[in-house]
Amino acid sequence: MEKKNITIYVKVWRQEDANTKGRFQTYTVEDVNPDMSFLEMLDVLNENLIKNDDIPIEFDNDCREGICGMCGVVINGTAHGPKSGTTTCEVRMRQFKDGQTILVEPWRARPFPVIKDLVVDRTAFDRIMSKGGYISVRTGGVPEARSILVPKENADQAMDMAACIGCGACVAACPNASAALFVGAKVSHLGLLPQGRPEAKRRVDRMVVQMDEEGFGACSNHGECEAVCPKEISITAIARMRREFLKAAVG
């Protein structure tokens, strides 16, 4: 039952703003309870920094239960840390050893510029979404819910795809900084439902153009995205997007 507290060395990326060069700095955090979450460990570190008149480390986070998609850093070279199917806020300190040095880096991609320290700007995702990540319906002007039948299999698959929380780990982990899994998940979610079919072509077309304009890389099927995705979205999404794209291109 009794667990021993541990000491952790955190080597973390510090960067004043987008235009300043960053660097790594190492901090010591003592007396870390293994039941702590990774972010709570950073909280403790920040409290120490504040008390010592230092500047706390900025990192994005919000719900702290793995659903809002706000948090996300690369821990020891892996987006969202070593455990699969989790977000950064779900990483627990018991995954690390006493005396271990943890390397913490922000998401790195041209379309995700660093705002400060570990905080990056992910509005590129919103811009992609604005180009077609929706079904064009007006409030109120919709059919009775029951009139749209959706085969269970499609509903389940669409749900698998819709589980994306937009955290950007796919981009961070991709050797090419590609956003294919994110866009693929969205295209697949809506494309798998009968409601989404009427504008399927327009959707994939416009979203892909925007994705390219943002400067994401191309997917070369490494599959790192799937492995780090906290919602374990399969790269089937990317293949489906490509099929939709091909259909749109020739049709």
């Binding site: 390397l103 041209r110 590609s178």
Partner: protein
């Protein structure tokens, strides 16, 4: 998007790379089959086959060569464009990258496609220089035809240890390239399915091994088993 523009999108580029890659895979299968004739101690079948390709098809061979070259070039140009874009997409790299493991298919092969590809492209030019545009030794077949003895050129070439080692190394790289390239091509074409994808991934490996072993087999056979003697 206009159709012509979609060819230059990140997905369009990969579509073309996948498609051209599969075509090139088809080409090397034919090439490998042709190579088998070199294992025959009788040089005539191989030389006749080579002669047929260069002289027996009329102008069709120029069309075929042109198409093959075009596919090659599309594959290379798009590869360079895609890779350049990918490099640009991450101006500041990570201090440390750990492979995520699990379902990831990231491998040495998948991360070195461009390097392997460049080597193979250089190799291809050399290969053409060695053989297609190499020394022309004429001889008379048993049935009295006066044709080029490409068989002899090949045997001479692989009588040299360095040539042999070089070819074996490049063919190893080709195998690597294919081990990621084949299934990846299908994925790039959007051909993915619960049952199909595991199959094609397995097939890709088997294909890569067959091609690798097949192409390595010939220089290996010539140098180590025949010593280059014909």
């Amino acid at each position: 998007m206009r159709f012509s523009m979609s060819l230059f999108s990140s997905i369009g580029k990969k579509l073309f790379m996948g498609l051209s890659g599969l075509m090139l895979s088809g080409f090397i299968v034919v090439h490998l089959l042709g190579n088998l004739a070199l294992l025959n101690p009788d040089r005539d079948p191989f030389n006749k086959y080579a002669h047929f390709l260069t002289h027996g098809l009329g102008n069709a061979i120029y069309v075929a060569e042109f198409l093959l070259a075009a596919i090659f070039i599309i594959h290379i140009v798009y590869a360079v464009a895609v890779t350049w874009g990918n490099w640009m997409a991450r101006p500041v790299g990570y201090a440390k990258v750990t492979n995520a493991g699990g379902t990831s298919r990231k491998s040495i092969a998948s991360t070195t496609m461009i390097y392997g590809g460049v080597l193979i492209a250089i190799f291809t030019v050399m290969h053409l220089y060695h053989f297609k545009f190499g020394e022309v030794i004429m001889y008379t077949t048993k049935d009295g035809q006066q044709i080029r003895d490409l068989y002899a050129v090949v045997y001479q070439f692989f009588g040299n240890i360095w040539n042999t080692v070089f070819y074996i190394v490049v063919m190893l790289i080709l195998g690597f390239h294919l081990s990621h390239g084949v299934w990846s091509a299908f994925q790039s074409l959007g051909l993915n399915g619960r049952r199909f994808t595991p199959f094609i991934q397995g097939f890709g490996y088997v294909f890569a091994v067959i091609m690798g072993v097949g192409f390595i087999g010939l220089p290996f056979y010539i140098y180590f088993l025949t010593g280059g003697a014909q």
